[in-house]
């Protein structure tokens, strides 16, 4: 099975575990089914792209812990009851965090889910747009996304008219 290079999958994990030669041996015969799906060359390609990420994550973690460790080692540790209270402009704390939130924060979260998902769905189309044009499917290429975005624009206009975007 030929896999598109741009397929986002967990192939790189497989690449770390299995190589082509191992797959060919009888020991891993049962894994041949997987081999159909996870082409080893493709998997190595994925590894090349994503192993550096694992390294960057671990490095970031090490750096953060190093900084924190250093300051824990060097800094003074003279805690007092007053020092450990939360900040309130120099006066005793008034009220806890049982505060009321403006309902708009919730609405923004909902709208975000909608529109960010929209953006995520537009990306694959944008990648393929040029090749669709080259393939002569011009009207289809544009109108397809036009319909998708159009529905969301109708939603935006509705939300706008309903006043969900006003902060007063």
């Amino acid at each position: 099975m030929v896999v598109d290079r741009r397929d986002f999958s967990v192939n790189f994990l497989i690449a770390l575990l299995i190589t082509n030669k191992e797959l060919a041996s009888r020991k891993y015969a049962r894994l041949r089914v997987i081999y159909i799906w996870f082409d080893a060359g493709e998997a190595a390609f994925m590894a090349e792209q994503f192993v550096p990420l694992l390294l960057v994550i671990s490095l970031a973690l090490i750096f953060a812990l190093l900084f924190l460790g250093l300051s824990y080692w060097l800094g003074p540790k003279k805690a007092s009851k007053l020092k450990k209270t939360v900040y309130e402009c120099g006066i005793p704390v008034r009220g806890g965090i049982e505060i009321r939130f403006f309902i708009r924060f919730f609405l923004v979260a909902l709208l975000f889910l909608l529109f960010d998902l929209e953006a995520v769905f537009i990306y694959p189309w944008a990648v393929m747009y040029q090749s669709m044009l080259d393939g002569g499917r011009m009207i289809f290429a544009l109108s397809e996304m036009g319909v998708f975005v159009g529905i969301l624009v109708v939603g935006l206009v509705y939300v706008w008219k309903k006043g969900a975007l006003e902060w007063q």
Binding site: F8, A44, A47, E48, Q49, V51, P52, L53, L55, V56, I57, L59, A60, L61, F63, A64, F67, L68, S71, Y72, L74, G75, P76, K78, K81, K83, K84, T85, V86, Y87, G95, I97, I99, F101, R104, V108, A109, L111, F112, F115, D116, A119, V120, I122, Y123, V127, M128, Y129, Q130, S131, L133, M138, L142, M145, V149, V153, L156, L165, W167, Q168
Partner: protein, 351 residues
């Protein structure tokens, strides 16, 4: 990445198989990235105070170091290392400790896909641009965590505002890059930069009017995305003390601070790579000192952002949301449509 592995195998004579090459090259690259990022973030804290000083007709830091307080950021780091680390009694300890680490990691991760020069990229992944947006929004989780765990109402308000703002501005930020992806036909950062070869009018920002508007949308949203003035609502000193990091002291506070400046530089680097031609020169096809050209453009963008911060007054929350939802998002959707039609028409003419 290729440069590094070549250097390791040929110059230092290391015998490496494929996996070894991958790990050694990736590790060196990641280390360089982390050091560059940390240094830049530290230098920016100095540059910001210096520029602020000049804008307000004063000197800024002058004492530490021979030249214009050049060693001030080093002195600050040393000072911060020696500060006490206070965790309030009422705080939610695990979350409180975890929040700055998450934000720090989220600000370091996107650097893996930033193409500084040909072959000088930690992970030359096909999903580059998408990956950058995906991991950098991890900071929102950290901000909410910090605000909630502090058990301080000012921190919580700041966190809610910060999350609402970052979440809102992420949409125009992502939508503004889509015309570029349409033009390039790839999300790979290297491909995007290479697609802008051949002088200033081949750079995405100056290629056509729609892309120019998209660049402007990206630039405005990126300032809001990194919570800087005039969009620094989450940390309004006059209302919320210091926003979500009110309760943080010492090194934990410094992690927030470092990530903020790293993010400032990151959005400038992405703008450079995606809109301003990356390492390409304004004239001709030649690639001369690619890394320096890239850095020069990114530094210019950072200086513009600092200039904006010290020039414009802070917006109100309602104005902020108005700009995002009623101006930038419809405008970026129009840009999308415009570039789509333009690509179609220009393709027809070319054919």
């Amino acid at each position: 990445m290729e440069i590094i592995t070549k250097l390791l195998t040929e110059t230092f004579g290391l015998q490496l198989d494929n996996t070894g090459q991958l790990v050694a090259g990736g590790l060196t690259m990641a280390l360089i990235m982390a050091l560059v990022m940390a240094t830049c973030a530290i230098v920016w804290t100095w540059a910001e105070r210096k520029v602020a000083g000049f804008i307000q007709s004063r000197y800024g830091p002058m004492r530490v170091g021979k030249y214009h307080g050049a060693l001030q950021p080093v002195a600050d780091m040393v000072k911060i290392l020696g500060k006490e680390d206070i965790i309030p009694d009422d705080a939610d300890k695990p979350l409180f400790v975890l929040a700055p680490i998450i934000i720090f990691i989220a600000s370091l991760l996107p650097w893996a896909a930033v193409p500084f020069a040909p072959g000088f990229i930690a992970s030359d992944m096909d999903l580059g641009l998408f990956y950058i947006f995906a991991v950098s929004s991890g900071a929102i989780v950290g901000i909410l965590m910090a605000g909630w765990a502090s058990n301080n109402k000012w921190a919580l308000y700041g966190a809610a505002r910060g999350a609402a703002q970052m979440v809102s501005y992420e949409i125009p930020l992502a939508l503004a890059t889509i015309p570029v992806v349409m033009r390039t036909g790839s999300l790979n950062m290297n491909d995007i930069v290479i697609g802008q070869q051949g002088g200033i009018f081949h750079w995405n920002a100056f290629h056509d009017p729609f892309l120019f508007v998209a660049f402007m949308i990206y630039f405005i949203s990126s300032i809001a995305e990194v919570n800087r003035g005039p969009f620094d609502m989450p940390e309004t000193e006059s209302e919320l003390v210091a926003g979500y990091h009110t309760e943080y002291t010492g090194m934990r506070f410094a992690l927030f601070f470092l990530s903020e400046y790293a993010n400032l530089f990151l959005v400038s680097c992405i703008a450079t790579a995606v809109f301003l031609g990356g390492w390409n020169l304004p004239v001709g096809n030649a690639v001369v000192l690619p890394g320096l050209v890239f850095l020069a453009k990114a530094v210019l963008l950072v200086l513009i952002q600092i200039w904006i911060r010290w020039t414009l007054p802070r917006l109100r929350v309602d104005q902020l949301m108005h700009v995002c939802w009623k101006v930038l998002i419809p405008l970026s959707l129009l840009c999308l449509l415009g570039s789509g039609i333009l690509l179609m028409v220009s393709g027809e003419i070319a054919a």
